[in-house]
Symmetry: C2
DNA sequence: ATATAGTGAATGGCTATTCATTCATTGTAT
DNA sequence: ATACAATGAATGAATAGCCATTCACTATAT
Protein backbone atom coordinates (compact mmCIF):
# COMPACT_ATOMS: atom_id res chain seq x y z
CA UNK A 1 0.00 0.00 0.00
CA UNK A 2 1.38 3.38 -0.94
CA UNK A 3 1.98 6.28 1.38
CA UNK A 4 -0.81 8.67 0.37
CA UNK A 5 -3.37 5.97 0.80
CA UNK A 6 -2.23 5.10 4.30
CA UNK A 7 -2.03 8.73 5.34
CA UNK A 8 -5.67 9.33 4.50
CA UNK A 9 -6.70 6.01 5.99
CA UNK A 10 -5.26 7.21 9.29
CA UNK A 11 -6.93 10.59 8.95
CA UNK A 12 -10.33 9.04 8.45
CA UNK A 13 -9.82 6.57 11.25
CA UNK A 14 -8.73 9.39 13.55
CA UNK A 15 -11.77 11.47 12.68
CA UNK A 16 -13.96 8.56 13.62
CA UNK A 17 -12.14 7.77 16.85
CA UNK A 18 -11.83 11.40 17.97
CA UNK A 19 -15.53 11.88 17.34
CA UNK A 20 -16.44 8.80 19.32
CA UNK A 21 -14.14 9.21 22.30
CA UNK A 22 -12.83 12.74 22.16
CA UNK A 23 -9.20 13.65 21.63
CA UNK A 24 -7.97 12.92 25.11
CA UNK A 25 -9.80 9.65 25.53
CA UNK A 26 -8.78 8.39 22.11
CA UNK A 27 -5.81 6.05 22.26
CA UNK A 28 -3.29 5.86 19.49
CA UNK A 29 -3.93 2.13 19.48
CA UNK A 30 -7.63 2.83 18.83
CA UNK A 31 -6.75 4.85 15.76
CA UNK A 32 -4.25 2.25 14.62
CA UNK A 33 -6.82 -0.49 15.01
CA UNK A 34 -9.48 1.48 13.16
CA UNK A 35 -7.03 2.24 10.34
CA UNK A 36 -5.78 -1.33 10.38
CA UNK A 37 -2.14 -0.39 10.82
CA UNK A 38 0.32 -0.91 13.63
CA UNK A 39 0.65 1.67 16.38
CA UNK A 40 4.12 2.60 15.25
CA UNK A 41 3.07 3.13 11.67
CA UNK A 42 1.17 6.22 12.70
CA UNK A 43 4.45 7.86 13.67
CA UNK A 44 5.75 7.43 10.16
CA UNK A 45 3.06 9.82 8.99
CA UNK A 46 2.50 12.12 11.95
CA UNK A 47 4.76 13.64 14.55
CA UNK A 48 2.49 13.06 17.52
CA UNK A 49 -1.09 12.72 18.61
CA UNK A 50 -1.87 16.42 18.43
CA UNK A 51 -0.46 16.58 14.94
CA UNK A 52 -3.08 14.03 13.89
CA UNK A 53 -5.83 16.26 15.24
CA UNK A 54 -4.55 19.30 13.38
CA UNK A 55 -4.31 17.28 10.19
CA UNK A 56 -7.87 16.10 10.62
CA UNK A 57 -9.02 19.72 10.74
CA UNK A 58 -6.96 20.82 7.81
CA UNK A 59 -8.02 17.99 5.55
CA UNK A 60 -11.64 17.53 6.50
CA UNK A 61 -12.46 21.23 6.65
CA UNK A 62 -10.38 21.81 3.54
CA UNK A 63 -12.60 19.39 1.68
CA UNK A 64 -15.69 21.14 3.05
CA UNK A 65 -14.39 24.46 1.77
CA UNK A 66 -13.74 23.08 -1.71
CA UNK A 67 -17.20 21.59 -1.82
CA UNK A 68 -19.13 24.67 -0.76
CA UNK A 69 -17.04 26.99 -2.94
CA UNK A 70 -17.85 24.86 -5.95
CA UNK A 71 -21.55 25.07 -5.16
CA UNK A 72 -21.35 28.83 -4.67
CA UNK A 73 -19.66 29.32 -8.03
CA UNK A 74 -22.93 28.75 -9.82
CA UNK A 75 -24.86 31.27 -7.73
CA UNK A 76 -24.79 35.03 -7.86
CA UNK A 77 -27.71 36.13 -5.70
CA UNK A 78 -26.33 36.71 -2.17
CA UNK A 79 -29.61 35.50 -0.68
CA UNK A 80 -29.32 32.25 -2.55
CA UNK A 81 -25.65 31.98 -1.66
CA UNK A 82 -26.39 32.15 2.05
CA UNK A 83 -29.06 29.50 1.50
CA UNK A 84 -26.54 27.28 -0.28
CA UNK A 85 -24.06 27.65 2.55
CA UNK A 86 -26.60 26.81 5.21
CA UNK A 87 -28.07 23.90 3.30
CA UNK A 88 -24.66 22.44 2.57
CA UNK A 89 -23.36 22.87 6.09
CA UNK A 90 -26.37 21.32 7.77
CA UNK A 91 -26.67 18.41 5.39
CA UNK A 92 -22.98 17.58 5.66
CA UNK A 93 -23.16 17.72 9.46
CA UNK A 94 -26.27 15.59 9.50
CA UNK A 95 -24.65 12.98 7.27
CA UNK A 96 -21.10 13.07 8.60
CA UNK A 97 -21.59 12.99 12.33
CA UNK A 98 -17.96 12.24 13.00
CA UNK A 99 -16.85 15.42 11.29
CA UNK A 100 -19.59 17.36 13.04
CA UNK A 101 -18.43 16.23 16.45
CA UNK A 102 -14.81 16.93 15.73
CA UNK A 103 -15.66 20.46 14.63
CA UNK A 104 -17.98 21.13 17.50
CA UNK A 105 -15.89 19.71 20.28
CA UNK A 106 -12.29 19.13 19.37
CA UNK A 107 -11.87 22.24 17.31
CA UNK A 108 -12.91 24.38 20.23
CA UNK A 109 -10.89 22.32 22.61
CA UNK A 110 -7.77 22.84 20.59
CA UNK A 111 -8.37 26.46 19.70
CA UNK A 112 -6.54 27.35 22.88
CA UNK A 113 -3.53 25.36 21.79
CA UNK A 114 -3.32 26.70 18.26
CA UNK A 115 -1.31 29.87 18.34
CA UNK A 116 -2.27 31.49 15.11
CA UNK A 117 -5.97 31.05 15.44
CA UNK A 118 -6.95 33.24 12.53
CA UNK A 119 -4.66 31.58 10.08
CA UNK A 120 -6.33 28.23 9.67
CA UNK A 121 -8.85 26.37 7.58
CA UNK A 122 -11.66 26.86 10.03
CA UNK A 123 -11.42 30.64 9.79
CA UNK A 124 -11.28 30.35 6.04
CA UNK A 125 -14.52 28.41 6.12
CA UNK A 126 -16.36 30.90 8.31
CA UNK A 127 -15.02 33.79 6.27
CA UNK A 128 -16.97 32.52 3.29
CA UNK A 129 -20.05 33.79 5.12
CA UNK A 130 -18.73 37.30 5.60
CA UNK A 131 -17.65 37.42 1.96
CA UNK A 132 -21.20 36.62 0.92
CA UNK A 133 -22.57 39.29 3.23
CA UNK A 134 -20.19 41.92 1.88
CA UNK A 135 -21.21 41.00 -1.65
CA UNK A 136 -24.85 41.45 -0.69
CA UNK A 137 -24.09 44.82 0.85
CA UNK A 138 -22.38 46.02 -2.34
CA UNK A 139 -25.55 45.13 -4.19
CA UNK A 140 -27.69 46.85 -1.55
CA UNK A 141 -29.45 43.59 -0.86
CA UNK A 142 -28.11 43.35 2.67
CA UNK A 143 -28.28 46.27 5.07
CA UNK A 144 -25.12 48.34 5.35
CA UNK A 145 -25.59 48.55 9.12
CA UNK A 146 -24.83 44.82 9.45
CA UNK A 147 -21.21 44.14 10.33
CA UNK A 148 -20.04 41.16 8.31
CA UNK A 149 -17.48 40.17 10.95
CA UNK A 150 -20.18 39.85 13.59
CA UNK A 151 -22.89 38.47 11.36
CA UNK A 152 -20.66 35.68 10.09
CA UNK A 153 -20.18 34.45 13.63
CA UNK A 154 -23.86 34.74 14.42
CA UNK A 155 -24.75 32.79 11.30
CA UNK A 156 -22.15 30.10 11.80
CA UNK A 157 -22.90 29.84 15.49
CA UNK A 158 -26.59 29.34 14.75
CA UNK A 159 -25.89 26.57 12.24
CA UNK A 160 -23.40 24.94 14.56
CA UNK A 161 -25.66 24.91 17.57
CA UNK A 162 -28.57 23.64 15.54
CA UNK A 163 -26.55 20.77 14.16
CA UNK A 164 -25.26 19.93 17.60
CA UNK A 165 -28.44 18.11 18.57
CA UNK A 166 -27.76 15.57 15.86
CA UNK A 167 -24.40 14.64 17.31
CA UNK A 168 -25.55 14.49 20.90
CA UNK A 169 -28.12 11.93 19.90
CA UNK A 170 -31.35 13.64 20.86
CA UNK A 171 -34.21 12.24 18.85
CA UNK A 172 -34.62 14.31 15.74
CA UNK A 173 -36.97 17.13 16.53
CA UNK A 174 -36.64 18.70 13.10
CA UNK A 175 -35.39 17.83 9.66
CA UNK A 176 -32.39 19.28 7.84
CA UNK A 177 -34.74 21.05 5.44
CA UNK A 178 -36.80 22.64 8.15
CA UNK A 179 -33.75 23.72 10.12
CA UNK A 180 -32.26 25.30 7.01
CA UNK A 181 -35.47 27.12 6.19
CA UNK A 182 -35.83 28.44 9.72
CA UNK A 183 -32.27 29.75 9.96
CA UNK A 184 -32.63 31.50 6.64
CA UNK A 185 -35.96 32.99 7.59
CA UNK A 186 -34.48 34.29 10.82
CA UNK A 187 -31.36 35.74 9.25
CA UNK A 188 -32.99 37.20 6.20
CA UNK A 189 -36.24 38.44 7.68
CA UNK A 190 -35.84 38.27 11.43
CA UNK A 191 -38.45 36.90 13.76
CA UNK A 192 -40.72 39.92 14.09
CA UNK A 193 -44.18 40.02 12.65
CA UNK A 194 -44.02 42.52 9.79
CA UNK A 195 -46.58 44.70 11.56
CA UNK A 196 -45.34 44.07 15.09
CA UNK A 197 -44.59 47.75 15.55
CA UNK A 198 -48.32 48.46 15.47
CA UNK A 199 -48.86 46.63 18.74
CA UNK B 1 -12.90 26.39 57.82
CA UNK B 2 -16.39 25.03 57.41
CA UNK B 3 -17.57 22.71 54.71
CA UNK B 4 -19.72 24.98 52.55
CA UNK B 5 -16.95 27.48 52.28
CA UNK B 6 -14.40 24.94 51.12
CA UNK B 7 -16.81 23.38 48.69
CA UNK B 8 -17.31 26.64 46.85
CA UNK B 9 -13.63 27.48 47.04
CA UNK B 10 -12.93 24.28 45.14
CA UNK B 11 -15.68 25.01 42.62
CA UNK B 12 -14.27 28.42 41.83
CA UNK B 13 -10.73 27.11 41.64
CA UNK B 14 -11.88 24.34 39.31
CA UNK B 15 -13.69 26.79 37.05
CA UNK B 16 -10.51 28.77 36.74
CA UNK B 17 -8.27 25.78 36.12
CA UNK B 18 -10.64 24.05 33.67
CA UNK B 19 -10.91 27.27 31.73
CA UNK B 20 -7.18 27.71 31.58
CA UNK B 21 -6.13 24.17 30.76
CA UNK B 22 -9.25 22.30 29.75
CA UNK B 23 -10.71 19.43 31.66
CA UNK B 24 -8.29 16.76 30.54
CA UNK B 25 -5.16 18.83 30.95
CA UNK B 26 -6.20 20.08 34.35
CA UNK B 27 -4.60 18.16 37.18
CA UNK B 28 -6.32 17.63 40.48
CA UNK B 29 -3.21 19.05 42.07
CA UNK B 30 -3.68 22.25 40.02
CA UNK B 31 -7.17 22.66 41.40
CA UNK B 32 -6.00 21.85 44.91
CA UNK B 33 -3.22 24.39 44.67
CA UNK B 34 -5.55 27.06 43.29
CA UNK B 35 -8.05 26.37 46.08
CA UNK B 36 -5.26 26.20 48.64
CA UNK B 37 -6.25 22.78 49.93
CA UNK B 38 -4.55 19.41 49.82
CA UNK B 39 -5.16 17.09 46.88
CA UNK B 40 -6.95 14.61 49.10
CA UNK B 41 -9.31 17.24 50.49
CA UNK B 42 -10.99 17.50 47.13
CA UNK B 43 -12.16 13.92 47.51
CA UNK B 44 -13.95 14.82 50.70
CA UNK B 45 -16.24 17.05 48.67
CA UNK B 46 -16.38 15.40 45.25
CA UNK B 47 -16.44 11.79 44.11
CA UNK B 48 -14.02 12.22 41.25
CA UNK B 49 -12.68 14.64 38.71
CA UNK B 50 -15.68 14.44 36.42
CA UNK B 51 -17.98 15.11 39.34
CA UNK B 52 -16.19 18.41 39.84
CA UNK B 53 -16.90 19.38 36.25
CA UNK B 54 -20.58 18.58 36.57
CA UNK B 55 -20.78 20.57 39.77
CA UNK B 56 -19.14 23.53 38.10
CA UNK B 57 -21.89 23.55 35.46
CA UNK B 58 -24.69 23.13 37.91
CA UNK B 59 -23.54 25.91 40.17
CA UNK B 60 -22.18 28.44 37.71
CA UNK B 61 -24.99 28.08 35.19
CA UNK B 62 -27.49 27.89 37.99
CA UNK B 63 -26.34 31.30 39.15
CA UNK B 64 -26.58 32.61 35.60
CA UNK B 65 -30.17 31.39 35.37
CA UNK B 66 -31.13 33.08 38.63
CA UNK B 67 -29.56 36.30 37.49
CA UNK B 68 -31.19 36.50 34.08
CA UNK B 69 -34.58 35.38 35.40
CA UNK B 70 -34.50 38.17 37.92
CA UNK B 71 -33.76 40.70 35.19
CA UNK B 72 -36.52 39.31 32.99
CA UNK B 73 -39.06 39.62 35.78
CA UNK B 74 -39.23 43.35 35.30
CA UNK B 75 -39.81 43.18 31.56
CA UNK B 76 -42.92 42.24 29.68
CA UNK B 77 -42.20 43.16 26.08
CA UNK B 78 -40.82 40.01 24.37
CA UNK B 79 -38.55 42.18 22.21
CA UNK B 80 -37.04 43.75 25.27
CA UNK B 81 -36.77 40.38 26.97
CA UNK B 82 -34.68 38.97 24.16
CA UNK B 83 -32.51 42.06 24.39
CA UNK B 84 -32.07 41.57 28.11
CA UNK B 85 -31.07 37.95 27.61
CA UNK B 86 -28.51 38.80 24.93
CA UNK B 87 -27.10 41.73 26.82
CA UNK B 88 -26.77 39.77 30.02
CA UNK B 89 -25.24 36.73 28.35
CA UNK B 90 -22.65 38.65 26.41
CA UNK B 91 -21.65 40.93 29.25
CA UNK B 92 -21.28 38.03 31.67
CA UNK B 93 -19.18 36.11 29.15
CA UNK B 94 -17.03 39.13 28.48
CA UNK B 95 -16.44 39.71 32.16
CA UNK B 96 -16.17 36.13 33.36
CA UNK B 97 -13.87 34.55 30.80
CA UNK B 98 -13.35 31.45 32.89
CA UNK B 99 -17.04 30.68 32.91
CA UNK B 100 -17.27 31.46 29.21
CA UNK B 101 -14.54 29.00 28.35
CA UNK B 102 -15.95 26.29 30.52
CA UNK B 103 -19.34 26.67 28.89
CA UNK B 104 -17.98 26.78 25.38
CA UNK B 105 -15.53 23.94 25.60
CA UNK B 106 -16.16 21.69 28.50
CA UNK B 107 -19.90 21.73 28.21
CA UNK B 108 -19.65 20.34 24.70
CA UNK B 109 -16.96 17.96 25.71
CA UNK B 110 -19.02 16.54 28.51
CA UNK B 111 -22.31 16.52 26.64
CA UNK B 112 -21.22 13.18 25.24
CA UNK B 113 -20.64 11.81 28.70
CA UNK B 114 -23.83 13.04 30.29
CA UNK B 115 -26.60 10.56 29.69
CA UNK B 116 -29.64 12.65 30.17
CA UNK B 117 -28.67 15.64 28.16
CA UNK B 118 -31.99 17.40 28.35
CA UNK B 119 -32.29 17.23 32.07
CA UNK B 120 -29.62 19.68 33.09
CA UNK B 121 -29.06 23.31 33.94
CA UNK B 122 -27.72 24.19 30.54
CA UNK B 123 -30.93 23.16 28.82
CA UNK B 124 -32.87 25.10 31.40
CA UNK B 125 -30.84 28.18 30.49
CA UNK B 126 -31.38 27.87 26.75
CA UNK B 127 -35.06 27.13 27.26
CA UNK B 128 -35.48 30.62 28.64
CA UNK B 129 -35.06 31.79 25.06
CA UNK B 130 -37.79 29.58 23.65
CA UNK B 131 -40.09 30.63 26.46
CA UNK B 132 -39.61 34.27 25.47
CA UNK B 133 -40.25 33.45 21.83
CA UNK B 134 -43.46 31.59 22.64
CA UNK B 135 -44.62 34.54 24.71
CA UNK B 136 -43.97 36.83 21.79
CA UNK B 137 -45.91 34.54 19.48
CA UNK B 138 -48.90 34.55 21.79
CA UNK B 139 -48.86 38.34 21.60
CA UNK B 140 -48.45 38.21 17.80
CA UNK B 141 -45.19 40.10 18.10
CA UNK B 142 -43.13 37.19 16.82
CA UNK B 143 -44.10 35.31 13.69
CA UNK B 144 -46.01 32.09 14.21
CA UNK B 145 -43.93 30.39 11.51
CA UNK B 146 -40.85 30.54 13.73
CA UNK B 147 -40.26 27.33 15.63
CA UNK B 148 -39.15 28.23 19.15
CA UNK B 149 -37.16 25.01 19.53
CA UNK B 150 -35.05 25.85 16.50
CA UNK B 151 -34.87 29.59 17.06
CA UNK B 152 -33.64 29.17 20.62
CA UNK B 153 -30.66 27.20 19.36
CA UNK B 154 -29.95 29.68 16.60
CA UNK B 155 -30.07 32.56 19.06
CA UNK B 156 -27.95 30.88 21.69
CA UNK B 157 -25.50 29.59 19.07
CA UNK B 158 -25.07 33.08 17.69
CA UNK B 159 -24.37 34.55 21.12
CA UNK B 160 -22.03 31.74 22.00
CA UNK B 161 -19.98 31.96 18.85
CA UNK B 162 -19.77 35.72 19.10
CA UNK B 163 -18.50 35.55 22.64
CA UNK B 164 -15.96 32.91 21.69
CA UNK B 165 -13.53 35.44 20.26
CA UNK B 166 -13.17 36.96 23.68
CA UNK B 167 -12.01 33.71 25.22
CA UNK B 168 -9.66 32.73 22.42
CA UNK B 169 -7.85 35.98 22.90
CA UNK B 170 -8.26 37.65 19.54
CA UNK B 171 -7.94 41.38 19.94
CA UNK B 172 -11.37 42.84 20.47
CA UNK B 173 -12.90 43.60 17.13
CA UNK B 174 -16.16 44.77 18.60
CA UNK B 175 -17.60 45.79 21.91
CA UNK B 176 -20.20 44.00 23.98
CA UNK B 177 -22.70 46.74 23.18
CA UNK B 178 -22.19 46.54 19.46
CA UNK B 179 -22.30 42.76 19.42
CA UNK B 180 -25.56 42.82 21.37
CA UNK B 181 -27.09 45.38 19.06
CA UNK B 182 -26.07 43.46 15.96
CA UNK B 183 -27.44 40.12 17.17
CA UNK B 184 -30.72 41.73 18.08
CA UNK B 185 -30.95 43.55 14.77
CA UNK B 186 -30.31 40.28 12.94
CA UNK B 187 -32.78 38.25 14.94
CA UNK B 188 -35.51 40.81 15.10
CA UNK B 189 -35.26 42.35 11.66
CA UNK B 190 -33.00 40.08 9.63
CA UNK B 191 -30.23 41.29 7.42
CA UNK B 192 -32.20 42.19 4.29
CA UNK B 193 -32.64 45.74 3.12
CA UNK B 194 -36.32 46.53 3.66
CA UNK B 195 -36.74 47.08 -0.06
CA UNK B 196 -34.39 44.32 -1.21
CA UNK B 197 -37.18 42.52 -3.01
CA UNK B 198 -37.28 45.36 -5.51
CA UNK B 199 -33.86 44.46 -6.88
C1' DA C 1 -10.69 11.77 74.69
C1' DT C 2 -13.15 11.41 70.72
C1' DA C 3 -14.67 12.73 66.42
C1' DT C 4 -14.18 15.18 62.45
C1' DA C 5 -11.59 17.50 58.88
C1' DG C 6 -7.52 17.86 56.42
C1' DT C 7 -3.07 16.32 54.55
C1' DG C 8 0.18 14.83 50.87
C1' DA C 9 3.24 11.05 49.76
C1' DA C 10 2.67 6.62 47.66
C1' DT C 11 0.25 3.61 44.57
C1' DG C 12 -1.29 1.69 40.44
C1' DG C 13 -3.13 1.94 36.05
C1' DC C 14 -2.80 3.86 31.82
C1' DT C 15 -0.91 5.15 27.21
C1' DA C 16 2.16 8.13 24.02
C1' DT C 17 6.18 7.22 21.99
C1' DT C 18 10.33 4.59 20.75
C1' DC C 19 13.16 1.30 18.41
C1' DA C 20 15.03 -3.29 17.37
C1' DT C 21 13.34 -6.34 14.29
C1' DT C 22 10.66 -8.31 10.34
C1' DC C 23 8.88 -8.16 5.78
C1' DA C 24 8.17 -6.88 1.01
C1' DT C 25 9.90 -4.82 -2.91
C1' DT C 26 13.29 -3.38 -6.13
C1' DG C 27 17.86 -3.40 -8.08
C1' DT C 28 22.10 -5.73 -9.52
C1' DA C 29 25.30 -9.23 -10.78
C1' DT C 30 26.19 -13.53 -12.77
C1' DA D 1 16.59 -16.78 -15.01
C1' DT D 2 18.39 -16.98 -10.42
C1' DA D 3 20.62 -15.49 -6.31
C1' DC D 4 21.85 -12.01 -3.45
C1' DA D 5 21.82 -7.31 -1.53
C1' DA D 6 19.84 -3.04 -0.35
C1' DT D 7 16.15 -0.24 0.95
C1' DG D 8 12.69 1.57 3.73
C1' DA D 9 7.92 0.62 5.17
C1' DA D 10 5.64 -1.65 8.81
C1' DT D 11 5.38 -3.86 13.15
C1' DG D 12 4.28 -4.22 18.17
C1' DA D 13 6.45 -5.16 22.57
C1' DA D 14 8.88 -2.43 25.87
C1' DT D 15 9.73 1.98 27.99
C1' DA D 16 8.95 5.87 30.55
C1' DG D 17 6.31 9.35 32.46
C1' DC D 18 2.05 11.06 33.98
C1' DC D 19 -1.67 11.78 37.31
C1' DA D 20 -6.28 10.32 39.58
C1' DT D 21 -7.16 8.29 43.57
C1' DT D 22 -6.19 6.28 48.10
C1' DC D 23 -5.06 5.97 52.89
C1' DA D 24 -2.26 6.12 56.97
C1' DC D 25 -1.42 9.80 59.52
C1' DT D 26 -1.90 14.66 61.71
C1' DA D 27 -4.37 18.66 63.37
C1' DT D 28 -8.30 20.77 65.28
C1' DA D 29 -12.46 21.35 67.79
C1' DT D 30 -15.73 20.13 71.25
Amino acid sequence: MKAANKHSKIIHAATKVFAKKGFFNARISDIAKEAKVADGTIYLYFNNKFDILISVFEEEIGALIEQVKKLLDSEDDPREMLAVFAKNHLSVMKKNKHLAEVIQIELRQSAKLIKDYRNNKFSEYVDIISTIIKLGQEQSIYRASIRPGIAKRAFFGALDEISRVWTVGISTEYSVEEATQQVLEIFLCGILEPDASLH
